[in-house]
């Protein structure tokens, strides 16, 4: 015999009663959750049958861009200060990242090359340089940098991924 379930145990004393098809507050909440995006999507699509400039999206993009620009500028400033205070490998890596974040890829490459001068055996900087070359579609340079990173650290998965990516992009050209 079942030694676990007692009749009064299940929620609202409804043990094994035929399942209810009745509606309740939970049903209303669930329907609301479904209807909000469904109705909104339908209305938005009805209002914009032809592709039109999405002001809200443009505004959002501008805000994002502005926010990113501010963040990037702050990051570069902070990284430069760090380089002045402590000009070591880590500081130049950070500076490169700050430039990378601001889409200043050539400056990023210069910073990472500087970090390589300070620590030539670290594969991360080479992989970072590869990513920067990838961002400006210089696939041959990216491949070289990845290979250098892998020669220093053959198990560097990110560099392997970047190498495959660069090769595939080069072949597409």
């Amino acid at each position: 015999m079942n030694k676990y379930i007692m009749p009064e145990e299940t929620v609202e004393n409804k043990t094994n009663a035929e399942p209810s098809f009745k509606l309740n507050y939970s049903t209303a909440i669930l329907l609301l959750v479904i209807l909000i995006p469904a109705v909104y999507t339908i209305i938005v699509n009805l209002q914009a049958p032809t592709p039109a400039p999405d002001i809200k999206k443009d505004q959002a993009q501008q805000q994002t861009q502005a926010s990113n620009t501010n963040n990037s500028a702050n990051a570069i400033e902070a990284a430069l200060k760090k380089v002045v205070d402590k000009p070591d490998y880590d500081s130049y890596i950070s500076l490169g990242l700050a430039y990378y974040g601001a889409a200043k890829y050539e400056d990023a490459i210069k910073a990472w090359n500087k970090s390589i001068e300070l620590n030539p055996k670290n594969a991360i900087a080479y992989n970072d340089i590869a990513a920067a070359y990838g961002a400006i579609s210089q696939w041959d340079e990216e491949i070289k940098a990845c290979e250098k990173a892998l020669s220093l650290d053959p198990n560097f998965t990110l560099a392997k991924n970047n190498l495959n990516w660069a090769k595939s992009q080069k072949n597409k050209k």
Binding site: T15, P19, T27, P37, T41, N45, K56, L97, L158
Partner: protein, 494 residues
């Protein structure tokens, strides 16, 4: 004091307060806080239903983003990353609080005493997956999946077919595996299947078959297909430890089918009794709606993660290190994993009384997903297991120190006290990733663990398990041989 203890809002209020606090703690730095998968969800939250970033996988994960898209759109709030991140955090907070309210109702209906309820809430909510990862990496569908799975289970216990239908429909476009689980609960609504064990020979046959499947599948994916962890930073397979890993996987699979050892499930009458035209019609409507909605979406890319082979090949991750899945599930969900190991035989009997819908769904998830060390993929399952384990434990009286230990272990493993250190971000990589040795326990999840983290967690898991065993049993040395006396007693039934 008693009134506070009995209040329906006590635990939900505490959990909601923690969630509100977590909104303001440092989060994942990658992609401006959106993360990697989160970036795709963000794009859907910006573009809506017709987002050009939809993949075959994202098509079945878009509902939370779509809801955010609609709410931000209606409110006239710009779709900037900070707004979308905050919206996800608020949505996650609401969902966790609602989940806590449903769990409280379930616990009340089982007349669980205060200590059992407290332990239950700790097991279900106070873990890394629910209260930490949710806010560390907010733009994800994990929390909606967690809440929906609890809702589906709650409606199942109430016998609310319409609500299972609706929650399952939302689940289909939030966390696809919730859809078959909801269908199973509609199909098998009986909530008190009599437990009569099947014959021992059948039990052994099922268990050995499962263990054999695990080993054969492991061999097939590792040696025949040559599958290796192929994502950045993943832990490579350790072939030296492979025999131990294989034994561990086989042992786990051996115990999995215990949940099906109920003779009711092998009786035709059980199925005929539950056969009902209305429910079959409801399921047909559900499937049709899912297909119709899916076909209205324009999907640009096929996601490789959404193929049957990719899902099945996850199995090989269980062989990377011995007990890697147990270690990860413990790290992510806390003590539920250990309690399941300790009580599995009785707990599986108990779970099987909830019918084939529940047992079958859990077994299906075990076989398909449990070996994937990325525990967050099981967030929908551990919510069920947490509730079932809590209700099961409430039938026994344990020593106070046992409850206290569970709470302490979960508190430690939830890592709410550990904050991400942005200042050590010197190893930030161009894609916004923090170099993994510096991530420590934040993204060291599943296959992305380093050797050290796996080893530390293995030690912690083993010690915690040992501690719970010591608290459960009196181990007597002396004149007699080593004996184990149960240090707990059943309180509801003889």
């Amino acid at each position: 004091m008693d009134r506070i203890k009995q209040s329906d809002f006590l635990f939900p209020f505490i959990i909601c307060s923690i969630c509100v606090w977590r909104i303001f703690v440092p989060q994942l730095p990658a992609n401006g806080g959106l993360g990697w998968d989160g970036y795709s969800y963000y794009q859907v939250a910006v573009d809506g239903f017709h987002s050009s970033s939809l993949t075959t996988l994202l098509a079945f994960r878009l509902f939370p983003s779509l809801l955010i898209h609609a709410i931000l759109g209606i409110s006239g709030i710009a779709f900037t990353p900070p707004h979308v991140i905050l919206a996800f955090k608020v949505m996650n907070t609401v969902l966790i609080t609602l989940s806590a309210m449903m769990v409280r109702q379930i616990f009340n209906s089982y007349k669980m005493d205060f200590m059992s309820q407290l332990t239950g809430f700790v097991l279900i909510f106070l873990n890394y997956g629910v209260l930490n990862f949710t806010y560390y990496y907010p733009v994800m569908t994990d929390t909606p999946a967690f809440a929906l799975s609890i809702a589906i289970f709650y409606f199942f216990l109430r016998g609310d077919t319409v609500n299972i239908f609706l929650a399952g429909l939302i689940g289909a476009f939030t966390w696809p595996i919730l859809f078959p689980m909801a269908v199973a609960l509609i199909l098998f609504p009986e909530r008190s299947a009599t437990y009569i064990p099947i014959k021992k020979s059948w039990q052994h046959l099922l268990s050995i078959s499962c263990a054999a499947y695990a080993l054969i599948a492991g061999w097939y994916f590792i040696f025949h297909q040559g599958e290796v962890p192929d994502m950045a930073y993943t832990l490579p397979l350790n072939k030296g430890m492979l025999p131990v890993s294989a034994i561990c996987v086989a042992v786990l699979f051996f115990f999995m089918p215990y949940i099906l050892f109920n003779r009711s499930f092998f009786d035709l009458k059980y199925y005929l009794r539950q056969l009902n035209g209305n429910r079959i019609f409801a399921i047909a409507i559900m499937i049709m709606l899912v297909l119709i909605i899916r076909n209205t979406m324009t999907v640009n890319t096929d996601s490789s993660y959404f193929s049957g082979y990719m899902i099945l090949k996850n199995h090989h991750y269980g062989f990377l290190r011995p007990m890697i899945t147990v270690v990860n599930h413990f790290n992510y969900f806390g003590c539920i994993m250990l309690l399941m190991i300790l009580f599995w035989r009785k707990l599986s009997e108990f779970i099987s009384t909830f019918g084939l819908g529940v047992s079958g769904s859990i077994f299906f998830n075990f076989v398909i997903l449990a070996m994937l060390p990325e525990s967050r993929t099981l967030v929908h399952l551990f919510s069920w297991l947490g509730i079932l384990t809590s209700v099961f434990l409430s039938r026994y009286r344990f020593s106070s120190i046992f409850y206290a230990t569970i709470i302490a272990i979960n508190f430690a493993m939830a890592k709410l006290w550990l904050f991400f250190d942005y200042d050590s971000g010197n190893n930030m990589l161009p894609d916004g990733t923090i170099g993994f040795p510096h991530q420590w326990f934040f993204m060291h999840l599943g296959v992305w663990m380093t050797e050290h983290v796996w080893f530390y967690l293995l030690i912690i898991t083993s010690l915690s398990l040992l501690l719970l065993i010591l608290l459960l049993y009196n181990i007597k040395f002396g004149r007699k041989a080593l004996l184990f006396y149960k240090n707990y007693e059943q309180i509801h039934h003889a």
